[in-house]
């Protein structure tokens, strides 16, 4: 893979008595689209501000292109930020806004106007140079904010929930455009969002953050299909969280576990008697009496919830626990409420997210 362009080493940051970051380490590769995903207050914005130099960490180092920039002022760092509120200068027109960084670098005037025009083309706002920020729509401001940052040719572009203020339609469109822009320019993006769909859709890698820590870092497929923590399983997508205990380790490398009065299978390692917490994505649960995987869990249909594309079924298990199954909606025949059914899943889709004794 490509070389590391940015690395965070064990960053700690406390605001007053509140610990915002407790030991964040991260390696970002040249040209990748990395998303930090987490609920508000998880420390993702603080991480971004520390990379930008707008906050300084209590301890830990920030390395940019191999140089320790921890104590550098923000203006000396070769990174630029697209702020959540865009932070366009209201007293400058669009061209002046985009050219701000170039003017500071004493770029010759003709060069500035050429680059500004180029950027306006790139973000599909040709001819908008003379407008003032308050004459633009939200989406247009967003584009100007991006142009103002990338015109400086940063080593890393930091984006703090840049699409947060846009409506759903525009969000989707901008997601596609941003991703395409990133590919074309080859700039490393560090993107912050609390929107899992956005993260899964755009990123090369996703870092899931909670309570000041990066819990898991991996490709979208990785973090979705193989969550390593209960938080990751519950924050992204819909999961059934099962508390089960190992009955035996099977020859094919799967585990047979007792759960809710029945038996289920999961991928992974363990020893008989060990108590585990499993995550099974709701759409991975299948209805069926005969299981090719050698187990079937009985249950009673408690309720259906039809959402157009998907049909969500809540099952009542023998011991009173509930299990959610997401299946295709449409014209499928379905079991009526109160009917007994059986479900199964591919053991590879049941992931261990917690073990007894580890929180």
């Amino acid at each position: 893979m490509a070389e590391t362009i940015l690395s965070l080493q064990n960053i700690h940051k406390t605001f007053g008595t509140a610990e915002a970051l407790s030991g964040v380490s991260l390696e970002v590769e040249q040209g990748e689209f990395l998303t930090l995903l987490g609920p508000s207050g998880c420390g993702k914005t603080t991480t971004l501000r520390i990379i930008a130099g707008l906050e300084s960490p209590d301890s830990g180092r920030v390395l940019l292109q191999g140089q320790d920039v921890t104590d550098w002022e923000p203006n000396r760092r070769n990174v630029n930020t697209v702020f959540q509120s865009y932070a366009l200068f209201p007293h400058m027109n669009v061209a002046k806004n985009i050219g701000y960084g170039l003017r500071l670098k004493k770029t010759p005037k003709p060069e500035i106007s050429r680059r500004v025009e180029e950027m306006l083309e790139l973000v599909q706002l040709p001819g908008y140079g003379g407008r003032m920020p308050n004459q633009l729509s939200g989406g247009q401001r967003q584009r100007v904010a991006i142009a103002r940052a990338i015109v400086n040719d940063p080593a890393v572009l930091l984006l703090d929930e840049p699409l947060g203020a846009l409506d759903l339609q525009l969000r989707r469109q901008m997601q596609t455009e941003l991703k395409a822009l990133q590919k074309d320019l080859g700039i490393t993006f560090i993107y912050i969002t609390h929107d899992q769909e956005e993260a899964l859709n755009m990123s090369d890698r996703i870092g899931i953050m909670n309570a000041g820590k990066i819990l898991q870092l991996g490709t979208p497929d990785d973090v979705y299909e193989r969550p390593q923590t209960r938080f990751a399983a519950e924050f992204i997508g819909q999961s059934n969280i099962l508390h089960a205990s190992v009955e035996q380790v099977c020859a094919d490398g799967t585990l047979l576990l007792s759960f809710a009065g029945g038996r289920v299978k999961a991928a992974g390692t363990g020893h008989p008697g060990e108590k585990l917490v499993l995550s099974v994505r709701t759409e991975r649960v299948r209805f069926g009496a005969e299981s090719q995987y050698g187990f079937a869990l009985p249950g009673t249909v408690k309720a259906h919830s039809y959402t157009g594309g998907m049909l969500r079924t809540t099952l009542l298990l023998p011991d009173g626990q509930e299990l959610t199954v997401n299946g295709m909606g449409g014209g499928h025949s379905r079991a009526g409420v109160g009917e007994s059914v059986q479900v199964y899943w591919n053991p590879a889709c049941a992931v261990i997210v917690e073990r007894e004794g580890t929180p």
Binding site: A52, G53, L54, E73, P74, N75, V79, N80, T81, F83, S85, A87, L88, F89, P90, H91, Y100, G101, L104, K105, R148, A149, N152
Partner: protein, 284 residues
């Protein structure tokens, strides 16, 4: 069109009456008076004359205008140099401390300004607090002449008008979105560059408002120079007061008042030009 808009605004009547009786009529009275002749003993003679305006251009009077303007400019400059940084740091304090500090800025208004200027006399006189302290500390042997000079008047003016500058600039700085400054820093601006290219232009309305609010009164305030300047420092305000009350030359006093109003209007005109504000909303 909306019919309501065409109706006579009944609610505005008391205000209109007030404005006509207490603002428009007195101003017209002053304007007319300035074109009359002074009577030998008391009052005016109803005879058109430009004498008062002609006398204004004698060196004695010109010196007073110059001194008044110079004092007003210095007062505005110093209140800005003290008030703007003060407002800047207050705006960065935590919420609760901010309101406390602003309260302390306003507290002096609860006392009569005359009393507060007498306070300065106590501080500045030969046997005053500052001189006594400096002698006791052995810094000086003989009392410094701190009172009854231009410097004392300037100090008094700055002291009296500083709150106006602070309140105007504070309201502008407080509204400034900190992320704009961060964006400037992020795009490569050092602290000073960010300050001059973002903070100052973004708070220009407050700066201009503060300057107007300080400049206009500092041309006309007379009691400060009376008390702290002795008889030496003559300002436009003192001159008008003297012409009207001491010399009893009413047309001259009126003419000087007219000139002062014109100058004030000029300042407001410059303010409007510079700040791009149509009215005086920025001040209010």
């Amino acid at each position: 069109m909306n019919k309501r808009q065409n109706r006579f605004p009944v609610a505005a009547v008391p205000f209109l009456l007030w404005t006509v009786v207490f603002v428009a009529v007195p101003l017209l009275y002053i304007l007319c008076m300035s074109f009359l002749k002074r009577a030998q003993t008391w009052g005016v003679v109803a005879e058109f004359s430009l004498d008062s305006y002609a006398r204004m251009f004698t060196p004695t009077y010109l010196k007073v205008y110059a001194q008044s303007m110079w004092l007003a400019v210095l007062t505005t400059l110093f209140t800005l140099l003290i008030g703007y940084p003060f407002s800047y740091f207050v705006s960065r304090l935590p919420e609760r401390r901010r309101s406390l500090v602003l309260l302390l800025v306003v507290v002096p208004f609860w006392t009569n300004s005359l009393v507060r200027i007498y306070g300065w006399m106590i501080l500045l006189r030969s046997q005053g607090v500052i001189n006594t302290l400096l002698i006791a500390l052995g810094v000086i042997d003989t009392p410094l002449k701190l009172l009854y000079n231009f410097g004392a008047v300037l100090v008094g003016m700055i002291y009296a008008l500083l709150p106006f500058m602070i309140l105007s600039t504070y309201s502008a700085i407080e509204k400034l979105d900190p992320s704009l400054v961060e964006a400037a820093r992020d795009l490569g601006a050092g602290r000073w560059r960010a300050f001059w290219t973002v903070t100052v232009p973004m708070t220009r309305a407050g700066i201009m408002a503060g300057c107007v609010l300080v400049f206009i009164p500092s041309v006309g305030l007379f009691f400060i120079s009376d008390l702290l300047g002795g008889a030496k420092t003559m300002l436009l305000g003192n001159l008008i007061k003297n012409e009207l009350l001491t010399a009893r030359d009413w047309p001259m006093g009126a003419a000087l008042s007219v000139v002062m109003m014109v100058m004030t209007l000029l300042v407001i005109g410059i303010y409007q030009k510079c700040s791009g504000e149509r009215g005086l909303e920025g001040i209010l």
